[in-house]
Amino acid sequence: MLELYGTELPSRLLLGTAQYPSPAILAEAVKASGTSVVTVSLRREMAGGRAGEKFWSLIRSLGVRILPNTAGCHSVKEAVTTAKMAREVFGTSWIKLEVIGNHDTLQPDVFGLVKAARILCEDGFDVFPYTTDDLVVAERLLEAGCKVLMPWCAPIGSALGPVNITALRSMRGHFPGVLLIVDAGLGRPSHAATVMELGFDAVLLNTAVARAADPVGMARAFGKAVDAGREAFSSGMLEPRDVAVPSTPTIGRAVFS
């Protein structure tokens, strides 16, 4: 069972709610994936106070935990303001913190991220920072009060999958007791399985499901892949060997040639 900031969750897949063909398909995808947490962005829906209320109430009706995010925020101030608004709108202290540093790659501004994380942690938020795989930044985020880290495995929406397995493995190794959720860049269920096999605690994804030809089918596939990867990690995988090892003993068998 995954435990995030004191809440036990049956699924290790967290799903984003943007870009689906319709809210109805989003709802079906959420169900099919088995996810227990969805993220929702406030940034663009904010214009005019609670003008996004209709969409938000559809999200609330999904019956899963909501992790609001600060997607699209480019400064500490914007991110902190959006987080406070999210707390009000969704009645949760959870916040997925994004402070974007580069418009093209949507790379996090790690300096602003640490600063915003500190402000929000002190304000009582349970912060889920979207970060890189940089170990020093990770340490700073932990110092700031974060109990969960969300490293990317590739740029948001790129569907590239884990582009730097070594960095992810080293992150897992450096922070054995910290909850690590791979966020962003996953394109296929096998990518999700791969990072789960590395021992990451969960994955968060959006585009790979929302923009699939059949988002519901893809959500189900990701749900299975996450489960498979986790179970494989827990079950102890065989390390690769250089020599062939027959699965059936050959000693004592008749030799025909």
């Binding site: 063909p21 319709s22 809210p23 109805a24 398909i25 709802a27 663009r44 829906e45 904010m46 214009a47 005019g48 106070g49 003008a51 996004g52 209320e53 209709k54 969409f55 559809l58 929406g157 923009r211 030809a213």
Partner: protein, 333 residues
């Protein structure tokens, strides 16, 4: 039979036409002072159900494939049948394959054919998709022309204060879009621009695919182009945001740098009415019928919805609640 149509957007006007054409004494009541300003007024006017299938479900294509014929028959000369051209920048050609895999009714075109179709785009795009059966119209011209045609057919229009109170009707059709009292509806904000430039001309709507900022440019009369449109989960009808405008203009500039010198004639915001499945509904309750949820497909879906609504009005069993057939299809799916 006397029928009241509430709302003079594309749903209301098309419904009024279907009713009047079948002999109903029809009145259209619109609380706005004129035909301008509703969501339809800010539409792109693309009759492009094959392209829309990229993100819309099958009923949108099924219901919309005859839309161009309907508009052409009702308003001769308004519909331009030149297809839709879909292009992507070289680094986004993956988007083109993705679009192709979700749609039908296109053929792939290479650089040489793109330059024949749209000479001003020559050398800018290597690959594209042409949807030859698609068409477009100018929504504002079409709505005004349809209004005039309806008036000539004897349909009564009541605008602004005259829209209330209205009674003594056998049937009522609610086409008020997001203003309808239906909790299932939500508004999806769409922002658009109208640009004017003589430096580029297009013969058909062009869609520029991009993973983040997709865009369409629809040529209009007088060297104008409708550039659209954002999709924001918000019911705010406030002015276009700087960010949306920046994204739309950035994408237009990427389509052709000549748009950089274009004048911004207008910015507009429309609130598209949508049900949770983003599919339209014609529903009957008692003597009232409602057409709603046309979402981003108003001009594509309105003719089919209007026909269904008129069918209901003329064959209505007032004691029975009827649902639009797509509901049944969805339930069985």
């Amino acid at each position: 039979m006397r029928v009241l149509v509430k709302g003079a957007g594309v749903a209301g006007l098309t419904a009024a036409f279907e009713l009047a054409a079948r002999g109903a004494v029809t009145t259209v009541a619109e609380t706005r002072p004129a035909i301008e300003g509703n969501a339809s007024w800010f539409a792109g006017g693309m009759l492009a159900p094959w392209c829309e299938r990229e993100s819309a479900e099958q009923p949108v294509l099924d219901l919309g494939r005859d839309a161009a014929d309907w508009w052409d028959a009702v308003l001769p000369g308004q519909v331009i049948r030149a297809g839709t051209l879909v292009v992507a920048a070289l680094r986004d050609t993956g988007e083109l394959d993705r679009f192709a895999s979700r749609t039908s009714g296109y053929r792939r075109v290479a650089e040489d054919e793109i330059s024949l179709l749209e000479p001003d785009l020559a050398g800018r795009f290597w690959r594209g998709l042409l949807f030859p059966d698609e068409a477009h119209l100018d929504p504002r011209q079409a709505m005004v022309a349809l209004h005039d045609k309806l008036a000539a057919m004897g349909v009564e229009f009541r605008f602004g204060a005259d829209a209330q109170p209205v009674s003594d009707f056998d049937r009522q059709i609610d086409c008020t879009g997001i203003a309808a009292a239906d909790d299932r509806l939500r508004g999806v904000r769409g922002e658009m621009l109208i640009l004017r430039t003589r430096d580029i001309s297009l013969s058909r709507p062009v869609r520029l695919l991009h993973p983040r900022f997709p865009l369409y440019a629809v040529p209009r009369a007088d060297t104008q182009f409708m550039i659209g449109a954002t999709m924001v989960e918000s019911q705010s009808a406030g002015p276009v945001t700087a960010r949306s405008m920046m994204e739309l203009l950035g994408a237009a500039y990427a389509l052709h740098p000549a748009f950089g010198e274009a004048g911004i004639v207008e910015t507009g915001v429309g609130i598209r009415p949508a049900f949770p499945d983003n599919l339209p509904r014609v529903e009957a309750l008692g003597t009232a019928v409602a057409i709603n949820g046309l979402y981003r497909h108003g001009f594509v879906l309105a003719p089919a919805m209007a026909r269904q609504a008129a069918d209901l009005v003329f064959n209505q069993d007032a004691t029975k609640e009827l649902a639009h057939e797509t509901d049944g299809q969805r339930r069985s799916a």
